[in-house]
């Protein structure tokens, strides 16, 4: 059975491209634009991994991640954002909230590596 990945991003192009790529790579994906939709999916069809943007139209990304972590405490979260953080910030702050931080300028291959690593996929 394919592993389920929830993608949360308010930019349709980014969301669709990432969903298409992860689907081609062998995963089942659900792509949503808002925190409310993400929480709904979290309840109805719990994902194995979450890829979330930081800045959403209806909520702060980190707050949404905190809510999803409360709902799905064992599920890893990748923060995929255009906001550039210093390495120290990533190490001291973000690492406590997300399993992985990736800039949006990262290649899809690198994103896939992170997904496989966090899902314990032997292909990683």
């Amino acid at each position: 059975m394919k592993q389920h990945i929830l993608i949360v991003d308010d930019e349709a192009d980014i969301r669709d491209l990432l969903a298409q790529f992860l689907t081609v790579s062998g995963y089942r994906t659900t792509a949503v634009a808002s925190a409310a939709e993400a929480l709904l999916v979290g309840h109805q069809d719990p994902p194995d991994l979450i890829v979330a943007d930081l800045q959403l139209e209806d909520a702060d990304g980190l707050e949404m991640i905190a809510e999803l972590k409360a709902l799905l405490p064992d599920k890893p979260v990748i923060l995929l954002t255009g906001v550039l953080f210093d390495p120290e910030v990533v190490r001291d702050v973000l690492s406590t909230k997300v399993a992985c931080y990736l800039e949006k300028t990262s290649s899809l291959e690198r994103i896939l590596e992170a997904v496989r690593r966090l899902l314990g996929d032997c292909r990683a």
Partner: protein
């Protein structure tokens, strides 16, 4: 007809047909000869039988005539006449049978001549006896003492019979040879046809084997081709997947870059301070909306123009030494910051607005390629202090 096997088989069948035709012709000819020979044999036997019957009738007639001479009985006379009539009739039959055979006919005529003389003798004896002329009868019979004429006829008949039997033997030999020839012709033809049929069977078997080999080779080629097609299809599918991934990667990179640029633009545009991006020659290359808002000048009126058109540092206090070089150009040249300097911005209407001037050299790999100027508006009332 382009198939060589079919051509060869057809040639073989033509040969077989030719052999069969030769056999048929030869057999028909021999059959016809046999029929003719058989007719001749039957005819010869008929002649022999008729001659034998003639001889028998002649002896019967001879006996009957002598009996009549002795008895003088009319019944014996009738029997004699009947026997003599039989002799004449059988002589005519023999002539009729041999009429188409000149040699036989000639011998029959010679025999018939003797028989006729003999019949005339019998008739003379019968006439004399019937007339009661015993003396004449005695004279006639005495002249026939020893029956030399009858023995002569007997010899002629024997000779004729022997000749006919010799001819029969000869015809039998010829018939036997013809039968043997027919038999050998048929057997030789059959044997030849069997050999030819064997050749045809071998050709067909060889052709079928060649076809099987060709079919097997074609099958192998098909399997190889199929494998190559599958291999190529797999390669194309892999290449397609790779291209698709690369395409997605490119789209993603463009999208991410666009997003990042947009985000950076948002940050710059959201800053309340005036921001100028300068070239190394101190020309303006970019401004944020705060500049437009404060100066009333559109970006098109600012871009590629000297910074000094809208901003200038406040001159040194009276009595202080004037700098030899433009401090902004000097800072860019030296690659150091120029922080919190008093300066004046002149707007579209010529109004002069006091600001605090800060310059950061813009570095690209340790090389100064331009500068960033930020201006903070001095709040009203703080001008004197500034």
């Amino acid at each position: 007809m382009n198939d060589p096997t079919i051509r060869r088989v057809l040639v073989f069948f033509l040969l077989i047909a030719a052999v069969l035709i030769v056999i048929a012709v030869q057999t028909a000819r021999n059959l016809s000869r046999s029929v003719a020979s058989s007719d001749w044999v039957n005819h010869t036997h008929a002649v022999i039988l008729e001659v034998e019957a003639l001889r028998a009738s002649l002896y019967v007639g001879d006996g009957a005539v002598h009996t009549y001479v002795l008895t003088g009985d009319t019944r014996d006379r009738a029997a004699s006449s009947e026997a003599i009539a039989d002799v004449a009739e059988q002589g005519e039959i023999a002539q009729a049978l041999t009429r188409n055979e000149p040699a036989q006919y000639e011998r029959i005529l010679q025999l018939e001549s003797l028989v006729t003389q003999r019949v005339e003798f019998y008739q003379a004896v019968l006439a004399a006896r019937q007339a009661g002329d015993i003396e004449k009868v005695r004279t006639l019979l005495a002249a026939d003492a020893g029956r030399a004429a009858l023995r002569d006829i007997q010899r002629k008949i024997e000779l004729l019979k022997n000749e006919e039997l010799a001819l029969l033997t000869e015809r039998d030999t010829v018939s036997y040879i013809q039968a043997q020839t027919t038999r050998w012709t048929v057997w030789a033809g059959v044997a030849l046809d069997v050999l030819l049929l064997g050749g045809v069977a071998w050709l067909i078997r060889d052709g079928l084997a060649a076809r099987r080999r060709a079919a097997a080779a074609m099958q192998e080629d098909n399997v190889r081709l199929e494998a190559r097609v599958q291999e190529r299809t797999a390669e194309l599918a892999a290449a397609n997947a790779r291209l698709s991934t690369e395409n997605l990667e490119r789209q993603w990179a463009n999208q991410a870059l666009e997003h990042q640029l947009h985000y950076n633009q948002l940050i710059v545009d959201s800053i309340d301070d005036l921001v100028f991006v300068l070239t190394k020659a101190l020309n303006i290359s970019r401004v944020n909306p705060a500049v437009v808002h404060l100066t009333g000048l559109e970006p098109s009126a600012l871009i590629n123009r000297p910074l000094a058109r809208v901003v200038r540092l406040v001159a040194a206090p009276p009595g202080a030494a004037a700098p030899l070089l433009d401090p902004i150009a000097q800072a860019l040249k030296d690659g150091h910051d120029l922080r919190d300097q008093p300066a004046i911005v002149e707007d579209q209407r010529g109004r002069q607005i006091p600001v605090r001037f800060t310059l950061f050299p813009l570095r690209d790999r340790d090389k100064v390629v331009g500068g960033i100027v930020t201006l903070q508006i001095v709040p009203p009332g703080a001008e004197a202090k500034a």
